[in-house]
Amino acid sequence: MALTGIQIYKLLPQTNCKECDFPTCLAFAMKLAAKQVELAKCPYVSEESAAQLAEASAPPVRPLSIKSNGYEVKAGNEIVLFRHNKKFFSPPGLFIRVYDDQSAEEIKTKVKPVADYVVDYVGMDLTMGGIAVQSRGGDFGAAVASVRETTKLPLILVGSVEELKKGLEKLADTETPLLCSANSGNWEQMADLAKEHNAPLAVESNNIDEMVDLVEKLEGKDLKDLVLSPTQRSLLGTLTANTTIRRMALKENFSALGFPIINFPGDVGDPVREVTQAMQAIGKYGSFIVLDHFDPATAYSLLVLRANIYTDPQEPIQVTPGIYEINNPGPEDPFLVTTNFSITYFSVANEVESMGLPVWLLVTDSEGMSVLTAWAAGKFDAEIIAKDAKRFNAADKVTKHRIVLPGHTAVLSGELEEELPDWEVKVGPKEAVDLPAYLKEFL
């Protein structure tokens, strides 16, 4: 776990000799905690303290990624068990699995819609992470090749050492797929293979002690990028395994379990139970999530759930303040004004856009707050709206100067008239759904 300034201070000489160019050891410690200076700037740190500091500065969950042709799924780097304590950093990648006994045709039909899937959610493009290829007695190399003919998305390869070798032959050297999995029987050969290809390696076990033992052996072979693969398959079993692993890493600073986790909800077979398990894995520490079924409806739910969990709870998702043109507005069309909280923006923009109504949308800087929240916090008042209207040159866009306020902030209309004397200030409906009807009458 990263140390606080005071914890670091305790490890420094505490002599305030100033050779590091800071007035006190504490000032130096605080900078070190913020990672803004190098420890080496203090010539007097004891070897023991230096070792302790180095260990503490290692991330508690090792960051790594699966890469291919410009795509990347990142994992790890988490520092809290609960999102509200800070935030979660690496959204888990969702992988759809194909098997090597499927025909090239089957594989391609399965992979294509996954690769093409992209959906817009409050201004973010949500996509699937990649494809998992698993051996089932077929031709592993051919299966990997079929996938690669269809998509460049990152891969997870699941098979024996020999099969993985055949799969890896079909890939560019620059790719680093995730290799699954090292176990007590094959770990040495797997380690060699992973090392040769510079690829992350999954470590599989249904028992934490054995998992730790394997990790330590692999670390002994100088492997660093490991992914833990608990083989429990029930909801409770996965939850227990994932939670134990992450707790040990974050609360006990136990480095042998400080790795991202891979889960296989696809193994339960039933598509509904699969989604349930995937939801649990998204909420509870899964980093790579392997599914057998791809259905845009469930994919959307999972990706939105993921987006909601993997955003900073203290920082609302925002859009950039400015003037947005919706449906090519002209000089006669009205201005609507709203805040830059993305959910607010999209509820207004989508409503107007989908009805094909041309408007200018003035998005004010309200620090990502909704209309009423911003109003209550003093971040959405007549003065601010007028200032942003001027800042973004709203008056130059139109010949007919009309501006519509959200119905919830009707009280602002008087003041806004004073602030913008050349404009006709209107009060719109309270809810965005009522905007089309209002605008049709208005236009």
Partner: protein
């Protein structure tokens, strides 16, 4: 414990009334009472006094100075008002309360303190708002307050950093962080700056009957982290008793033992456990519950003592 008596505060209706009526006796009586109860300095919080500052600040300062010899702590955001008060002080070295890291105040107020050879209270507060974490508060002291004091020539022991006590009712997550901030700021300068907090802020917006216990428990922990100065009510006998328990290490009663333990464990960066308390003693249980709430282990509710 160096207590700056807080009872002359414009928020109090009786102070407001006395000021309106120019009731000199009221101010004198309050000041004497506080000093007799052990206050080492007297805070004069007169608010901004936007219109009358030129008259009000000197008048109250002179009135109080007539009857007590301790330092007066001029507490306002009105810089002109502070200066008007400083001009009439001729007894003990005054304290200016306060500057913050906000650019404008940091520019003016330290110069004023230097000019009148006053000690200076500095809040770890920036324009963008109050920082939650201990590290952020310490950083404000290190990056803004201490450098500015050194720049204008205020000796570090004359700079009193106030890392801001905030109410457990609404800002609960700030409470344990303040303890760590106090612990850390002691190392922020060489020699170390002073540290003071406005103790009763921790129980703002808390029902009257539960405020005192929260103040007492918080104080024991803050003393464990090294607090030696605070703005508080010197007439609060139960609070004074806790100070005495800790300063004299009086462990002759169960309660005294518990407060000493709370202090010692905080000092050692540990937390009290159920083993440290006698669960049959309601007073000790109240200390326990208050500590849990103040350490943000149990979510605060007005009825936390009953839960």
């Amino acid at each position: 414990m160096y207590i700056i008596g807080e009872n002359i505060h414009i928020i109090s209706p009786s102070v407001k009334k006395a000021l309106a009526e120019k009731d000199a006796e009221f101010f004198k009586k309050s000041a004497i009472q506080q000093v007799e109860a052990g206050a080492k300095a007297i805070d004069l919080n007169l608010g901004r006094q936007k219109h009358d500052w030129a008259e009000v600040f000197p008048w109250v300062t002179k009135t109080v100075q007539e009857v007590v010899d301790v330092p007066l702590c001029i507490d306002s955001t009105n810089v002109d008002g502070i200066e008007a008060a400083l001009k009439v002080i001729n007894k003990a070295r005054p304290i200016v309360n306060s500057t913050s890291a906000e650019a404008e105040r940091l520019e003016q107020v330290p110069l004023l303190a230097k000019k009148y050879d006053a000690q200076l209270v500095a809040l770890t507060l920036k324009k963008e708002g109050i920082p939650v974490s201990a590290d952020e508060r310490v950083n404000i002291a290190l990056e803004y307050l201490i450098p500015r004091a050194m720049e204008v020539g205020i000796e570090l022991p004359d700079l009193i950093i106030d890392p801001l006590a905030l109410t457990v009712s609404g800002c609960q997550e700030f409470c344990p962080e303040l303890i760590e901030a106090v612990r850390t700021i002691k190392f922020a300068g060489d020699p170390p700056p002073g540290i003071s907090v406005g103790l009763s802020n921790v129980s703002n917006a808390v029902p009257e009957e539960t405020r005192p216990i929260l103040n007492r428990v918080y104080l024991a922990m803050l003393m464990g982290a090294g607090l030696e100065m605070m703005i508080a009510d010197p007439l609060d006998e139960k609070l004074n008793e806790v100070i005495r328990f800790i300063e004299e290490r009086d462990e002759s009663s169960g309660l005294g033992r518990l407060y000493v333990k709370l202090h010692d464990k905080t000092e050692a960066m540990e937390e009290i456990t159920k083993d440290d308390i006698d669960e049959n003693d309601p007073e000790q249980m109240a200390v326990w519950k208050s500590a849990q709430v103040l350490l943000n282990k149990v979510i605060y509710a007005d009825s936390f003592l009953e839960q």
